[in-house]
């Protein structure tokens, strides 16, 4: 069983990746048409909204609405007015802080719960472990869109309405199923022998988990952490339903509700808000690309 788990994980970036393969059979013009051109078009379409976001957030207002005199695809005298207005005249820093606080809190809670659950399911082999694994997979498939109404009344009953704490408690339902499945995959690749040695030396289950399993599964933990953090940052419907007062909102909810005032000049600050809200995730992603991809593909494969 351990072997098969290793096999499904291992082949991703192996020899096939950098070898030339059969591509030498193709001529350059042919590659240009069948590979580079379509790839270029797709990349331009995928990246254009971000270019547009950045461009708009540094464009002075008069260039935004006068598309005849100024070429809209470029900016003549870039300004940081929108961004500084966003950071110093609105509650944007507060919303960023809320989002960060909720994301970090919910992620840590979920990872802790997932490590324990994944260890119990893969290693303790308790009665009904497989059933529990399948139930957790099903939990992954329950979308927030069908839960937000009853959850709103649950949150109301617990007196947590309009508090970021409610999101910290609710987001783990999105993150635990995913992280548990991901970590189960990593735990399965750790040899049983290590655990047996520790048991013979008199270690308790808890010591085995903390001193042997967790350190060996660090890459998996990083993947789970980054992916969970991104999911929290992205979550919208719960935040929209549970948070009412302006200072308590998270970035996505605040952007949609607070900036939309019908002002023709709103676009600069709106785009600046979207840009500043996206940057933390893009930076995090840039540092951990490999972990991110393995989290995404791992969750689907396992």
């Amino acid at each position: 069983m351990t072997d098969s788990a290793l096999q499904t994980k291992a082949p991703a970036p192996t020899a096939t990746d950098d070898s030339e393969g059969m591509s030498y059979l193709e001529s350059l013009p042919r590659r240009l048409i069948t590979l580079y051109l379509p790839l270029f078009i797709i990349l331009v379409v995928l990246l254009f909204p971000f270019y547009w976001m950045v461009l708009t957030s540094i464009k002075p207002d008069e260039q935004l609405i006068d598309m005849e005199k100024f070429n809209p695809f470029w900016v003549v005298h870039p300004t940081f007015k929108h961004i500084s207005k966003l950071l110093f005249e609105t509650q944007y820093p507060r919303w960023l802080w809320n989002t960060m606080y909720v994301a970090v809190g919910a992620t840590f809670l979920s990872i802790a719960a997932s490590v324990l659950a994944a260890y119990a399911i893969t290693r303790l082999r308790f009665k009904g472990a497989d059933t529990v694994g399948i139930l957790i997979f099903f939990a992954y498939l329950v979308p927030p869109s069908i839960l937000f109404i009853p959850l709103a009344s649950v949150i109301q009953a617990y007196g947590l309405f309009d508090s970021p704490l409610s999101l910290i408690l609710v987001y783990p339902t999105l993150l635990i199923p995913f992280s548990t499945w991901l970590l189960m995959g990593y735990f399965k690749t750790i040899p049983y022998e290590l655990e047996e040695c520790a048991l013979i030396d008199g270690a308790s289950r808890w010591q085995i988990l903390v001193k042997i399993i967790v350190p060996l599964a660090i890459p998996g933990l990083i993947s789970a952490f980054i992916f969970s953090f991104t999911l929290c940052w992205n979550e919208f419907i719960y935040a929209l339903t549970f948070l009412q007062s302006t200072p308590n909102k998270t970035v996505p909810v605040a952007i949609v509700n607070e900036f939309v005032d019908g002002d023709i000049y709103k676009w600069g600050s709106l785009m600046a808000g979207a840009l500043v809200g996206s940057l933390p995730l893009v930076i995090l992603y840039a540092f951990f690309v490999e972990h991110y991809v393995s989290a995404m593909t791992g969750a689907v494969k396992e």
Binding site: L47, S145, P150, P172, T173, L199, L281
Partner: protein
């Protein structure tokens, strides 16, 4: 290892009664209970219980700030005669169907492109995933600006190219609005499909292609008889997830159109939010949400089928 753990206390019981505590300490089921407790607590309190509560609420006339009374199927009867509800069902199916098919086609094509040998391969692959990283609402806001009725860059470019006379009212006209939200959804979904399928493609051994080429197989034959069969299981899983998340989509629509114009882009999730939270008729909103469950079960059944097939392909000892 495990046999030592369980059998010890049982044998020892005959010799001298070990204390309850030491028996429990050695019992794996007891230990597992404690290990499972935090995850189970979250999932039961905030997932399983609300799921049941939602179904119950759909049979009551609960409103915000007022307890509900059991009214049987009244909410559903009401919805059955509600043209807007049926419009939202139609929109949801249309949105899911079109967006999923396009996402799959472009995603697979992009995965095949990315799987080929080229300079800066790793960097291009990481760039492709960026739309998936950025929070949906924030990229939806960028699309809102791109689709603006007055200052849309698309309209401007098309007018300059001489293709159209007037600005296109992207989010104000029913069909344009549907097309626009589908495009935004596809834009965000393609990277996910492409990168997961790419991971599947990389497990296909290149020697298969070499052998097929030596036998004179064309490009299409190589794809049809090698790539596609080997990729089927991962396609099944990826597309189930894609369909599931498209079907229950809320945030993209809410940020772009809020269901308008004249309910043309209302999905079941957005209608449920509007009726349940904004109008305060929690019971009716819960009934709309509950009506989504049969569709989701169908999607899960397909996913299950895909996984069974994968087991069958790779041997039974697969986890």
């Amino acid at each position: 290892m495990s046999t030592v753990q369980t059998s010890m206390p049982v044998q020892a019981a005959a010799a001298g009664e070990p204390s309850l505590w030491s028996r429990l300490r050695a019992n794996r089921n007891w230990a597992a209970l404690w290990f499972m407790l935090p995850a189970a607590a979250f999932l039961i309190l905030f997932l399983a219980y609300p799921l049941g509560l939602g179904i119950w609420m759909s049979f009551t006339d609960e409103r915000i700030g007022r307890e509900g009374v059991f009214i049987g199927l009244e909410n559903y009867q009401w919805l059955w005669d509600d043209a807007i509800f049926w419009l939202s069902v139609f929109n949801t199916i249309l949105y899911t169907l079109i967006a999923s098919v396009i996402k799959f086609a472009i995603g697979l094509y992009l995965a095949l492109l990315l799987n080929r040998h080229m300079p800066f391969k790793a960097m291009i692959r990481s760039i492709v995933l960026i739309p998936f990283i950025v929070p949906t609402v924030l990229s939806a806001i960028a699309f809102w600006w791109i689709y603006d009725a007055q200052f849309s860059i698309i309209s401007w470019s098309l007018i300059r190219l001489g293709l159209i006379e007037h600005n296109i009212n992207f989010l104000g006209d029913s069909n344009w609005a549907r097309g626009s939200v589908i495009f935004a959804n596809v834009w965000r979904g393609v990277p996910f499909v492409a990168i997961t399928l790419l991971a599947g493609l990389q497990t296909v051994s290149p020697s298969l292609y070499e052998a097929a080429t030596l036998d004179g197989a064309t490009n299409w034959q190589r794809f049809r008889y090698i790539t596609y069969p080997l990729l089927t299981p991962i396609i099944a899983v990826v597309m189930t997830f894609s369909v599931l998340f498209t079907f229950t989509d809320f945030q993209l629509i809410w940020a772009l159109t809020r269901g308008g114009p004249v309910n043309a882009t209302h999905l079941m999730a957005t209608l449920s939010y509007q009726r349940g939270i904004i109008s305060g008729r929690l019971g009716e909103g819960a009934a709309i949400a509950t009506a989504m469950i049969p569709f989701l079960l169908a999607a899960i059944a397909i996913s299950w089928f895909g996984m069974q097939r994968r087991k069958w392909q790779q041997g039974s000892n697969n986890d």
